[in-house]
Amino acid sequence: MPLKKVIETKKISRVFKNGDIEVYALTDIDLVIEEGEFVAIMGASGSGKSTFLNILGCLDQPTSGDYYLDAVHVNKLSKNQLADIRNQKIGFIFQSYNLLSRTTALENVELPLVYDRTGRFSNSKELAIKALGEVGLEDRIYHKTNELSGGQQQRVAIARALVNEPALILSDEATGNLDSKTSIEVADLFVRLNNEGKTILMITHEPEIAQFAKRMIYMRDGRILTDEIIKDRSTKESALKDLELTAEPIE
């Protein structure tokens, strides 16, 4: 039985018009990501990876081409339908966590369920507690966001991305604001979630974090430059060891 395609893009382009000038942020991108994959997208600033993520996250629409998310043809959906798709099928993780300030971890994680219109979640509190357990924050449930460290805040954000049982988890520079050790822990958390069957797509510009993924896509000038399977994936142990080596003071 073939694996379910979570993402399928066909010749996706995104053109920004600035007066008379047309700028191609993305050009004819074909990409398929199947269920259970863990993909890292890398590329320099201006390579189009953020634009691509916005389209994949249904925050933006392609200028041309077709995008299927979990077998839903996204292109022609209305604003409200897009909001509902984001709510049902996507879990977002942002670089600066984007948690509600002075609000408990629990309330933050419950947030996507506030906007659920399908009624598929009967007890949002239980689900939020479960999601916080999955990221190892079961003893921080009633802590307010400003009482948590950066790593803990990002884990609350990850729990928030998990709570609605999305088809796809999208991470935009999730480790960008964290120190190296905490970054490795977050990356390791991604690996564990992926091992449990979650499909994860992350944008990063840190090669050592990308090395945790199963597949790496490298973008340049709005096109996919390379797309390959990572052979020697990092683990928490190997990454921490590398970290110790590089941290040696130079004599």
């Binding site: 925050l59 409200n80 709510n87 600066s96 984007n98 509600l100 300030s101 506030v114 928030r160």
Partner: protein, 406 residues
Amino acid sequence: MKQTLKILKVAFQAINKNRTRSILTMLGIIIGVAAVIMTISAGEGATMQVQNQISGLGTNLLMIQTKSEHKAGINVRMGKPIYKKDFEILQKNAIYMPNLSPLLAIGAQAIGPDGYKSTMVYGVSYDYFYITSREIQFGSFFSDEDVKTAKKFCVIGQTIRKELFPGQDPIGKQIRIDKVPFTVVGLLKEEGSGGMGQDMDDIVLAPYTTIQNRIFGNRKRGYNMILASALSEDHIVDAKIEATELLRESHKIKANDEDDFEIMTQIELQEITSNITGVLTLLLGAVASISLIVGGIGIMNIMLVSVTERTREIGTRLAIGARESDILTQFLIEAVALSLAGGVIGVALGVIGNQIIYKVTNFYIPTAAYSILIGFGFATLIGIVFGYFPARKAAKLNPIDALRYE
């Protein structure tokens, strides 16, 4: 429904998070609502006092006087004066008006043994006391007989007693009005100030015959008015029609000509004064409403700041799956909740303020129920009107830009 409850909770969390700012924002609405309630209630209180005063004149009162017109602020008589002849015709023929009294008013100095006072002297008949239901504290009224024989008797009010007979019993003593000596036979009960602020106790009553003969002398002069009381409240209209017919006959007015006199009933008087005070109340309320609108602008201002400050939060909510309408509702509820909470506090403050005014000035202000409704309704309306623009601005944010907003 469940969705609305969830959004409601979100809105209240936001208000609670910025408590100081929320209270400051509410202050405009609080003051506005309290001002509206207090001014409307004060207007209502004044109206009530005037109405009571008028009712105090006697519920079945009719006032018959020569038609006058306001010209450049002066009352100019337009018709024939009302003379003794007219009064006698009414007295002889009226069925619906058992009590009738002429009223001759003259401003004069009342001089006593220990003081004097400028006052109003009214020449009336014995019926006057029935018509106006004024009561005697000491002594007695002058009698019908005293009026017929034009006795130089008078009844005085409390203010006159205080000025002319400080600390003394005035009964049996003499006062002089326009050089004519009058014997004080009665002292009126205190009535307090009238609806328009005049002192109802600054008054001297004497038989109209005496005033006519002794003070006006040979000068031919009409009555200022004829006071009458109708048989009962149900007969006020009948009494008015009767008086009109009799007077038209007496003044020989042709069928198609207008009356040259006016008859005002007590109900009409109440209507006129309630119109005047109503306009006053409306005006005061309108001035107070302006402060509510200023409060509303305050809310709009703070909500706009709040939207800008929370741009990233809005972006996050949109990314997570909030629809535009969810964001709109959230911010609208926040604005309405702020103004409503302000409304509640304002109502409480207004009611307490009315009580304080009562305690301090003794001017009773009943808090008008409808003023609470107006204050409340206005607060809600302002929340919606001034909250809509910032809420719409929030809802229309582009999630991608909002997420990146620093």
